[in-house]
């Protein structure tokens, strides 16, 4: 399309995802079509076990796709070397058994790995990017703390700062608001919103907080058992898409309030 003002950072065409081994193929979702432009905040919602994590793993090349096209910044994802992809795409994963003896500064500095030499030595430019990432996430005062001294909300910000230090146009986060209270959930998503607006980052995150996602996202990916729908929150509300998310016996979506309620 010639009139497209913004550059598409991730694009799927007729994509199928799932798990494959020698014996069988388990398709989780197929016919996935969407395109995310630069500087957009996109949330991915869907019920438990629908395959949100599988989709994120496929989009971040941790899981090979089954068929169709998946392009990151105009190039097929399988054509990237691991190192080249690491300069396009960074991730924030659900808590892994990572070492918590690292200091905040050390953990955030690890984000520079794709850009440094074999010794990982940091240039002046690397250090500036690291300090900027700490500033952007309000962590400058905590930089010498060990990670085991931090609260869950602070730790989540540290991982976001690490992704920022990796300095990629696209950041993918897997349930960044889990285990956080309302205030800290809001602080994380407003941080993400700010990064898309001020730093022109493209951010895709999965979440169970549908209300919060509707309020803040530019676009939403809604995973239903039938298909994956990509649109703006307003359009999705009008089309009644959110009622396809869950069985209708316990919760219904109210178009007027834009909220779920228990029947």
């Amino acid at each position: 399309m010639a009139g497209m003002a913004k550059h598409s950072i991730i694009r799927c065409q007729d994509l199928s995802i799932g798990y494959q081994n020698k014996k069988k193929v388990a398709v989780i979702a197929s016919g996935i079509d969407f395109s995310i432009t630069q500087g957009t905040l996109v949330s991915l919602v869907g019920s438990n076990g629908i395959g949100k994590s599988t989709l994120l793993k496929s989009l971040t090349a941790m899981l090979p796709t089954l068929s169709g096209s998946l392009q990151v910044d105009g190039i097929e994802i399988i054509d990237y070397s691991p190192l080249a992809l690491a300069t396009k795409l960074s991730v924030v994963l659900t808590q892994t058994p990572a070492s918590k003896s690292l200091t905040v500064l050390e953990l955030v500095s690890l984000g520079r790995q794709p850009h440094t030499n074999w010794m990982g030595s940091l240039s002046q430019n690397d250090k500036e990017i690291i300090y900027q990432a700490l500033e952007d996430t309000d962590l400058a005062d905590l930089k010498n703390k060990n990670c085991f001294e931090l609260s869950d909300g602070q730790l989540q910000r540290v991982y976001i700062a690490r992704a920022l230090a990796q300095d990629t146009p696209l950041i993918v986060l897997d349930e960044p608001t889990t285990h956080l209270d309302l205030y800290h959930r809001a602080s994380i998503v407003t941080l993400l919103k700010r990064l898309t607006q001020e730093k022109n980052k493209t951010i895709l995150f999965s979440t169970h907080e549908i209300d919060l996602a509707i309020d803040i996202s530019d676009k939403m990916l809604v995973m239903t058992p039938q298909k994956i729908i990509f649109d703006s929150p307003q359009n999705l509300i009008e089309q009644g898409t959110f009622n396809l998310l869950f069985p209708n016996d316990l919760v219904v979506f109210d178009k007027k309030t834009g909220r779920f309620s228990v029947t």
Partner: protein, 342 residues
């Protein structure tokens, strides 16, 4: 950066301490030799030729073996703790030492099956090292393959333990079918000993150590990334399989090679990385590797100095001393911190 110079100073301090401990180690023994004479025997002929003989033929080789064994085992422990992200990992716990023992047992005890000239060829130091390193490499590979299937850090320890018992059982079967002389040879090896190394043996040992150390240093950046787990490491552009293989090879060459010469030595690999983390306040492997290597060498020399019971003719088995020193240290750390920082 302040942190940087502080770490440099620490490495220099540890190196100094190592020299002091090495001098004490060489000078003490059944016969006490003045420290002055140690320097004399390096640059010049010492005043008493018997001292010179003891130093060059007995104490120097033993001190060098202790330094290499201590730092090599400590590095291999560090690599495994990071690779498996498990504070309890170490060459002994994960069954690496058992794997090495099995390799050596097959060589020594199995040599009886193939008799004659062939068996003397089998028992030269090179084949001992290869058998031992191969044994630990295979066990480590099996443990890693199992952990890739079972994504649980506790399961790794159980799997390591199982491999340990399995190889122990195989060694027992082998012992049953071998003659008294071979059995004695194997049992003496399994007690662990730093002494009685030939200079040829020491040069093979040094070669293993240098290869293992170089591979570890080249893996330091990937080890730092692995602190965040495999998925993060991969997302930062690391070629996971290749890097893990290099780390495993380094570990097996270090643990396997050292075990071949000095026997299975307990606790150094597990305890030294934890001890070092108490005073090195960083998880950066470019700092940790040299610090752990120096601390391992120092602790091993101290253990050896105690083992030779200065002033007496008795020498205790080194394995007993490392356990007596190592076990309380780990317990003390756990009780004091209420958890292991890792």
């Amino acid at each position: 950066m302040i942190r940087h110079t502080k770490n440099n100073r620490l490495v220099i301090l540890l190196s100094g301490l190592l020299v002091v401990v090495a001098c004490v180690n060489i000078s003490l023994g059944s016969v006490a030799i003045p420290v002055q004479e140690i320097f004399n025997s390096i640059v010049d002929t010492p005043s008493k030729s018997s001292w010179h003989y003891i130093i060059t033929n007995y104490r120097f080789p033993k001190a060098i073996t202790a330094i290499i064994a201590g730092s090599g085992l400590a590095i291999s422990g560090l690599l495994m703790q990071t690779l498996f992200r498990n504070p309890l990992a170490g060459p002994f716990v994960l069954g690496l030492s058992s794997g090495a023992s099995l390799g050596v047992a097959i060589l020594i005890l199995g040599a009886g099956v193939i008799s004659g000239i062939f068996s003397t060829f089998l028992l030269n130091p090179w084949s001992l090292v290869i058998a031992s390193a191969l044994g630990s490499f295979l066990v480590l590979l099996a443990v890693l393959a199992a952990t890739l299937k079972v994504k649980d850090t506790m399961a790794i320890l159980i799997i390591g333990l199982m491999f340990g018992s399995l190889t122990g059982a195989l060694v027992a079967v082998l012992s049953y079918f071998s003659n008294a002389e071979q059995l004695q040879q194997y049992i003496f090896w399994s007690f662990g000993s730093l002494g009685n190394q030939t200079w040829q043996g020491i040069s093979i040992l040094s070669l293993c150590f240098v290869i293992g150390l170089v591979l570890s240093i080249f893996s330091a950046k990937s080890l730092n990334a692995l602190l965040l787990g495999e998925s993060y490491a991969k997302s930062m552009g690391l070629k996971i399989k290749k890097n893990m293989l290099v780390i495993i090879i380094a570990t097996s060459i270090l643990a396997g090679g050292i075990t071949a010469f000095v026997g299975p030595i307990a606790f150094i690999g597990l305890a030294v990385p934890h001890l070092t983390r108490q005073f090195v306040k960083t998880s950066n492997h470019f700092v940790l590797i040299p610090a752990v290597a120096l601390s391992g060498a120092i602790l091993m020399l101290v253990c050896d100095t105690i083992a030779q019971l200065p002033g007496t003719v008795y020498t205790l088995p080194i394995n007993a001393i490392t356990s007596v020193v190592g076990a309380p240290v780990v317990i003390w750390l756990l009780v004091r911190k209420r958890k292991l920082i890792f």
